[in-house]
């Protein structure tokens, strides 16, 4: 397939505005401005584009939730927090084609009537924040942004807002809290951001890749986009493949390709001639799939049918040498570290899982541990928490326990009882006056 999102990869000087314009850049925005917001939204609905950040919500539908008659400002926020383990696709787009993102933002902003847009980019991405700043500078100088976008009379400012190290800020409501200068605590929903978002105003939060799809939807038409993949699962998708494959990296493939093709054809199979053991199809928050499930199609609905999710399209491939208890402990640690601590099941549950899994690793597992883990996962997900972080650790970890329970039980069978627990005691400060001898 001819790349759309990674068209610029490998081109000399691809980041510059000149290069972008030479490839037909900002043509989609020009067309959008001519069509008007309603037609743009209709095109996006017709293209059946679904959000690429993880939840897979239809993008055009999301835009229509913005109240039409709302007085005062509204905002578009580009989610470039890219913090889901196993995901590194947005970075790739920004690295090679920052103007593609900017054009997408401009199209979406125009469609929802926003005159200010923010790019919330994770704090670690200093280089990519700078690349965006440079591209924005070019676009402003060339009057592509500002008071009169491409001479249309529409005004738009885009600002880069850097996060500072918090996975949770990839969740759209905590992203908005962080944008507003607060701790990144997810908000209660409803109200949804499209109604009450940034600064209390209607706000649409879209992922980088989602926005990067917009220019081609406008230039090549929604029908072209919808012809890729199958109904409700349309368009090109970036797959970030990492772990034990020969050629890890970002691949642009049509939705509906199988994971076998991704892993064994595009990525050259498993390293060192080893066998595939398991893989996470959509970032570490998606339930794990085993080697036997490698023929699952990589699209939203097929993944859901397989009991997992396409998520961000971050495929983490694990070979036969990986100890799944260690993998579970590694992920549990990640989520406990990243839990904001606001609501009880996630805060306590994630930390508790770390304790149990590390105890099993230390050789002190107990027979009831697998069930305790499943119980914790059950009650930290499915609406028990404010935001999906509870599900994000519960689903993959419970899937590991369910699908690789034998590995847990082997370790537990060989376990020794844990040594008596040590409680911290205050150091002896020596005899105190007035206490006898």
């Amino acid at each position: 397939m001819e790349p759309t999102l990674l068209k610029a990869r490998g081109l000399e000087g691809s980041r510059t505005l000149a290069s972008y314009l030479s490839r037909g850049g900002y043509e989609g925005l020009r067309r959008a401005l001519a069509l008007g917001p309603q037609e743009v939204t209709k095109s996006v609905i017709d293209s059946e584009l679904r959000g690429r950040g993880g939840a897979g919500f239809p993008t055009g539908r999301k835009w229509t939730f913005v109240p039409k008659d709302h007085p005062g400002p509204r905002y578009l926020v580009c989610n470039a927090d890219e913090s889901e383990p196993g995901t590194f696709k947005d970075r790739e787009i920004i690295e090679h084609d920052p103007h593609l993102v900017i054009e997408g933002i401009a199209i979406a902003s125009f469609a929802i009537g926003a005159h200010t847009a923010y790019i919330y980019i994770r704090g670690e991405f200093v280089r990519w924040a700078n690349l965006l700043e440079q591209a924005l500078g070019e676009a402003r100088r060339e009057k592509i942004l500002g008071a009169d976008v491409l001479g249309s009379g529409y005004s738009l400012d885009i600002w880069v807002h850097r996060g500072a190290g918090a996975y949770i800020c990839g969740e759209e409501t905590s992203l908005l809290e962080s944008l507003e200068g607060k701790r990144g605590f997810p908000r209660l929903k409803p109200p949804f951001p499209a109604v009450v978002g940034a600064f209390g105003k209607p706000t649409v939060v879209n992922n980088v890749e989602t926005l990067a799809c917009l220019p081609s939807i406008l230039t090549r038409g929604p029908a072209w986009f919808a012809s890729i993949g199958r109904p409700r699962n349309t368009g090109p998708k970036l797959f970030s493949v990492s772990g034990h494959v020969v050629r890890p990296g970002v691949y642009e493939l049509p939705l509906g390709v199988t994971f076998r093709e991704i892993i064994f054809e595009h990525c050259g199979g498993i390293r060192a001639g080893r066998k595939l053991k398991a893989f996470f199809p959509g970032g570490s928050s998606a339930p794990v799939l085993t080697a036997a499930e490698v023929d699952t199609k990589a699209d939203f609905d097929a993944c859901a049918e397989a009991g997992t999710m396409l998520g961000s399209g971050g495929v983490i491939v694990l070979d036969e040498t990986v100890d799944m208890v260690e993998a579970a402990a590694n992920l549990a640690h990640f989520y406990a570290h990243e839990s904001c601590g606001q609501c009880t099941p996630c805060r306590e549950g994630s930390d508790w899982l770390v304790d149990i899994l590390h105890r099993i690793l230390a050789g002190h597992g107990r027979a009831e541990d697998p069930d305790t883990i499943l119980r914790i996962c059950r009650f930290a997900s499915q609406g028990m928490t404010i935001c999906p972080l509870g599900d994000a650790f519960s689903l993959p970890i419970s899937s590991i326990v369910s699908k690789f329970r034998d590995e847990f039980e082997r370790r537990i069978a060989a376990a020794t009882p844990a040594p008596p627990r040590k409680h911290p005691v205050l150091p002896w400060a020596g005899p105190r006056p007035g206490f006898g001898r």
């Binding site: 670690e124 600002w159 190290g165 996975y167 600064f199 970030s240």
Partner: protein, 175 residues
């Protein structure tokens, strides 16, 4: 192009912080991006970290006063995020990614190698203040695991040999 070292200001200097004209004008520019001053908190903290190397209590107070917030509020925000240094950092902060993809591709070896070469583990710093190791969570570069972020820069596809070369280069360029 080598990574620039962090120059952390002395705690004494940051006891009471007054922004100079250059800082003030940058803050004023940042405030124009947002409808409310509080939203500029993260950008202003980044500005301060760039300027002073870390966010001392005195810096939090100055930021709070500038943006009309309480110092405790600013402290709450600073400590929520992992990237703001609340103690003076070493010149080079080696942020070793330890999440799954990096872990299965050799992050553990990198940490073991760092311990052997520098004699320190995660959370520690060398006595000369050149290096500091931090075990961090997913850096979003899993396809080129294992990854180490040094100050602001990513170093990808590392192995002990490449890490050695990097450390030599950084140690040599430290002044």
């Amino acid at each position: 192009m080598s990574t620039a070292p962090i120059h952390a200001a002395n705690p004494e200097e940051l006891r009471e912080v007054r922004f100079d004209a250059a800082m003030e004008s940058q803050i004023a520019e940042l405030l124009t991006h947002y409808p409310i001053p509080r939203a500029a908190l993260l950008p202003v903290l980044w500005l301060c970290q760039k300027r002073y190397g870390w966010i001392a209590p005195g810096v939090m107070e100055a930021v709070a006063a500038r943006l009309g917030l309480s110092p405790a509020y600013v402290q709450g925000v600073v400590t929520f995020y992992t990237m703001f240094h609340t103690t003076p950092p070493a010149r080079f902060v080696l942020q070793v990614c330890t999440t799954l993809s990096c872990a299965v591709c050799g992050a553990g070896e990198l940490l073991a190698h760092l311990r052997k070469r520098l004699g320190i583990g995660p959370g520690e710093r060398t006595p000369d203040g050149t290096f500091q190791i931090v075990g961090v969570q997913c850096l979003g570069a899993c396809g080129s695991a294992p990854v180490v972020q040094v100050n602001d820069d990513y170093y990808e596809n590392l192995d002990p040999a490449k890490l050695d070369a990097l450390l030599d280069e950084l140690a040599a360029a430290k002044e």
